[in-house]
């Protein structure tokens, strides 16, 4: 499998590290208390099917963090863009 890094071109999956769901947002309330928003952000994820946006890190390449759109059913990688 390959990921089309926008900076480096199509590279083998082995160069990248998977992080997780790209659609979750870090709460902007300053983190003074462990609210539900924080627990959701750190622990809970929707179990989706079909095209999914996820974060990958080009660890053995340009160190870019990429938002990769990947179909979770077919594994096809549809897009990769700089976050």
């Amino acid at each position: 499998m390959r990921i089309p890094c926008p900076h480096c071109g199509s590279r083998s999956l082995q160069e990248f590290l998977y992080h997780g769901d790209a659609t979750v947002q870090r709460p902007k309330d300053g983190g003074a208390a462990p609210t539900q928003a924080w627990t959701d952000y750190v622990y809970f994820r929707d179990n989706k099917n079909g095209p999914h946006q996820e974060l990958w890190y080009h660890a053995a390449g340009c160190h870019a963090w990429l938002v990769v759109t990947r179909d979770l059913a077919t594994h096809e990688i549809l897009e990769a863009r700089q976050v």
Binding site: M1, R2, G30, G31, A33, W38, Y43, A59, H63, T74
Partner: protein, 927 residues
């Protein structure tokens, strides 16, 4: 039964080049171009193995990689490879092969007595038989069954061959080099790869084939495309030297092929017919019979019976007739014009509406019992049977990504259904019309009728599976083990599905197939490893002072990928003596230690300080230029991730350090924070771990020593360069360096960094100036004496509170981990918290990993109160010490606790102390 070499013919053999080989110790001669199978056949050797469970005599079924019976051990010693299909072995001078699974010999296999006990070994037997008494299973039954089962023996020695791995890219990958594949490759544009598992192109063609027009094609012969993977990735294996007596080149090459498009032209595999004793040596697929005769001039016998249900196999009639082989009869379920015509031309009798009941013979075929249309049986003499139940497209690769084949009622076979992305199918792999009349169970004989030859699965097993409710194809497969041998059911799957469908009243279409998985044929593990073996399994990272350390007799320890000097033994010293001496030298005088491996990240920009506020728990914007500070980093879930020091070299420049183990992880984390979370911050950072050699210089004499190294323009007195100062200097007459007054040992200490190429020279200079080299062992002893948390305490399960660092959590700003670190469960003092331990008898060595319990508590998990994280034999204190995490630890200082280590027979009492054993006031740091 007599098989022999025909006097003429053989498209692939070169009669001018005889080749000597042995089988089971006996010498034979074949020709260049023979396979081991064809050479044995030509030498009248038909008994090639004993079957897996029942130890029945077996011979060749096929001429290709689908062969389930003729599995031999090839070569000897460390090169010995079991379960090698004789049909795929290219004969070479001096080849040695041995049959498998028989004792004492192929002819007289004592374990064939199994046949009498066969009812005890039916499908799923290990759930039903050999169960009483229970104790006998482990002691008697299992070892006996294991000895009796299994096929070949692995060498149990390291693989002496070398293997290569590489990647190839193309626009079109053509899988299969027969007529259809060659045509597809010829017509394909762009970069084209054509792969075929055989040494020559041609596929099923029995005569020369046109291979012109392929100049633009990369042709890979002896190459099996064994798997289809995501993203247009294909796994292939090339056998580079398996056809040679010995190899100076890599044995095999594993290729990852990235193809925009693929064309599957893998052909089809002939289907056996299921009748009694259809596994006897001499019962062969009709296509294989033709292949042996045309390609190798190897005749399976002198007189044949042909049993066929389709027009394709009719070609066998003229093939045998022209080779001078007699045909006792042609058995067919339904009349066919083609069969009638060819039979007439050969003068051979045809029995229409008939079936073979069973093959007759003991170690080989001597006759065939025919069941005629009217129910009468008739025995025909023969020494081989050529059978054809039809052809199954080799569609295995289409299902590697979960594509489901579909049943074609007209062709009476499964054809490719859903395909992997960008794959087409051509040729026989797409299915061929051959005027077929399906026969799934031939005759009515009580003799064993085999469905899966390699795993010894018969029609009885399928009936049993149906009776016991294992009706779905997935259950049928696993309950009977059919399709689970090294041939993945290439010659058994379709027959089995049809038989089960009939037994359960379902259609074959509704039954479906199981999923084929890579590899299509077995791949040696060495091929997957490639060059990554032994010392080459992972790269070694050497510190800039490595050469000097090696010359100084250092013993090295692996720390991740790094080699670090662990201790520098002088003559007669073991590790403890050396480390003790090194600790004493540091505490009393001065020592130096390479700390290059700790991550170093250079952070610059107007928002550098703001960025540090985001990632560290404590404050940074107020850090003065020329000062360093300890920093604690959490994960977003509130647990400690890493720690280090960060020095401010300028208004907009910081140098961050990390632990050795987390250097890459912290770098990734900083990139995440900057690119994903705070892209608006204006800064840049880069790892400089490898660019700077960094050496700790520690001890009461360290300043005095450094004053002889650091150029005199720089004032490093206690007033000018106090504890935690940091700055750029030059050393040794102008070499750029950075000096940090940091202490891990607890002594007056510095870390000095120089560009990495000067590392060895700096080490030599420090040694020449009288500093004692010390390694990670002494480093560890001293930091434990000072109660500094390190890797064992930062194990990803501890919090700032656990480590006594709660006051480092700023209450004024957001930082990574702030919110969830304040969860009550993470701040509960009942959590295991950092303390020190001293053995009650001041002698017993405490060991990391030991568990802590109250002295009178039962030694069960529910009473477990913590564990020892780090331990040392302290020369400074004169007794063993340890750091530990103990529930409510700091409140229990003075208490006696039980240190329990059942795995290493440790059980001692210890006193809970403050974790800072040495100089708790820190006066030596500020000296």
């Amino acid at each position: 039964m007599t098989s022999f070499r025909l006097p003429a013919g053989g498209a692939l053999i070169n009669r001018a080049r005889p080749i000597n080989f042995t089988f089971d110790g006996k010498p034979y001669t074949g020709f260049a171009g023979d396979t081991l199978a064809s050479a044995l056949l030509a030498n009248n050797v038909q008994l090639l193995g004993r079957s897996f469970k029942y130890h029945r005599p077996r011979g060749l079924l096929s001429a290709g990689s689908e062969e389930p019976n003729a599995l031999v051990e090839l070569r000897a010693g460390a090169w010995r490879e079991p379960n090698t299909r004789a049909t795929m072995v290219e004969l070479y001078e001096g080849l040695t092969a041995t049959s498998q699974n028989r004792f004492p010999s192929l002819k007289t296999d004592l374990l064939s007595i199994n046949s009498a006990l066969a009812p005890f070994f039916a499908a799923g037997f290990y759930y039903k038989t050999f169960m009483w008494p229970a104790s006998f299973w482990e002691k008697l039954y299992e070892p006996a069954i294991r000895r009796a089962a299994g096929l070949g023996r692995a060498a149990a020695l390291p693989d002496p061959d070398s293997y290569e791995k590489t990647t190839m890219f193309c626009d079109t990958l053509v899988i299969g080099g027969g007529e259809a594949g060659i045509s597809a490759a010829r017509n394909a544009g762009g970069r084209v790869i054509l792969a075929d598992e055989h040494p020559t192109l041609g596929g099923q063609a029995l005569t020369q084939i046109d291979t012109t027009g392929l100049e633009h094609v990369e042709i890979l012969t002896r190459t099996t495309v064994f798997g289809v993977y995501d993203g247009g990735t294909y796994g292939a294996l090339t056998r580079l030297t398996d056809h040679l007596p010995s190899a100076t080149a890599p044995r095999q090459r594993l290729i990852k092929i990235i193809a925009k498009n693929a064309i599957l032209a893998a052909g089809a595999i002939e289907r056996p017919l299921v009748f009694g004793n259809n596994d006897l040596p001499g019962v062969m697929l009709a296509g294989a019979v033709r292949a042996y005769i045309h390609r190798y001039a190897a005749a399976p016998g002198k007189r044949a019976v042909i049993y066929l249900n389709n027009d394709d196999a009719a070609q066998t009639i003229p093939t045998l007739h022209n080779a001078g082989i007699a045909i006792s009869g042609i058995v067919t379920p339904a009349a066919s014009t083609l069969i009638q015509t060819m039979a007439a031309q050969a003068g051979a009798p045809v029995f229409t509406g008939a079936a073979i009941n069973r093959a007759i013979g003991r170690l080989g075929v001597t006759g065939a019992e025919i069941l005629l249309k009217d129910g009468v049986t008739l025995t025909l003499p023969c020494d081989f049977i050529a059978m054809s139940g039809g052809w199954n497209p080799a569609l295995h690769l289409t299902s590697h990504l979960d594509g489901k084949p579909v049943w074609d009622e007209a062709l009476q076979t499964f054809i490719p259904g859903t395909l992997p992305p960008n794959m087409q199918v051509t040729g026989a792999a797409a299915g061929t019309s051959i005027n077929i009349h399906p026969v799934w169970r031939a005759g009515n004989s009580k003799a064993k009728a085999f469905v899966d030859f390699q795993n010894d699965v018969t029609t009885t097993d399928i009936t049993l599976a149906k009776q016991e409710g294992f009706v779905s194809v997935e259950h049928l497969k696993r309950y009977t083990t059919l399709g689970m041998a090294t041939d993945q059911g290439k010659t058994s799957n379709v027959n089995a599905i049809a038989l089960m469908a009939a037994a359960s009243g379902k259609t074959i279409a509704a039954s479906g197939t199981t999923r084929f998985r890579p590899p299509y044929t077995p791949v040696a593990i060495g091929a997957f490893a490639g060059p990554h073996r032994g010392q080459h399994f992972k790269p070694k990272r050497l510190t800039p002072t490595h050469d000097w350390a090696a010359a100084s007799n250092a013993v090295f320890v692996e720390t991740g990928l790094w080699l670090r000097a662990q201790y520098f033994p002088q003559p007669g010293e073991d590790w403890l003596a050396a480390a003790t001496r090194e600790v004493n030298a540091v505490r009393n005088s001065v020592g130096f230690c390479d700390v290059t491996t700790l991550g170093k990240i250079d952070i610059q920009g107007p928002d550098a300080a703001k960025f540090l506020e985001c990632v560290y728990t404590n404050s940074w914007t107020n850090l003065a230029i020329g000062r360093a500070r300890y920093g604690l980093m959490l994960r977003e879930d509130g647990f400690v991730m890493d720690d280090g020091t960060c020095a401010r070299l300028g208004e907009t420049q910081f140098i961050m350090t990390t632990t050795t183990a987390n250097a890459a992880k912290v770098m990734q984390h900083l990139e995440f924070c900057h690119q994903v979370l705070w892209p608006e911050l204006d800064l840049a950072f880069v790892s400089v771990t490898d660019q700077w050699a960094q050496i700790a210089v520690a001890g009461p004499q360290s300043r005095a020593l450094l004053e002889t190294i650091v150029d005199s323009t720089y004032n490093i007195s206690n007033e000018a360069f106090p504890y935690m100062a940091a700055g750029s200097v030059t050393i040794c007459g102008g070499t750029p360096a950075r000096l940090f007054r940091l202490s891990f040992s607890g002594e007056l200490a510095y870390e000095i960094a120089v560009p990495a190429r000067f590392g060895n020279a700096l080490a030599k200079a420090l040694a020449a100036a009288g500093a004692t080299p010390y390694g990670t062992e002494a480093l560890g002893i001293m930091r434990i004496e000072k109660g500094h948390p390190a890797g064992p305490e930062l194990n990803g399960q501890t919090t700032a509170h656990d480590l006594g660092m709660a006051k480092l959590l700023s209450k004024k700003k957001d930082f990574i981990g702030r919110a969830l670190s304040s969860r009550s469960a993470l701040t509960d003092p009942a959590r295991p918290t950092l303390i020190g331990l001293v053995p009650a008898d001041k002698t017993t060595i405490l060991r990391a990993g030991s568990h802590l319990l109250k002295p009178d508590a039962p030694t069960t998990a529910v009473h477990d109160e913590g564990w020892i994280t780090s331990a040392a034999q302290s020369p400074t204190l004169g007794h063993p010490i340890a750091l530990a995490m103990l529930s409510n630890g700091p409140a229990r200082i003075g208490e006696t606790i039980r240190v329990y280590d059942p795995i290493r027979n440790g059980d001692a009492l210890a006193q809970v102390t403050n974790p800072v054993f040495y100089d708790p006031a820190g006066s030596r740091l500020h000296a």
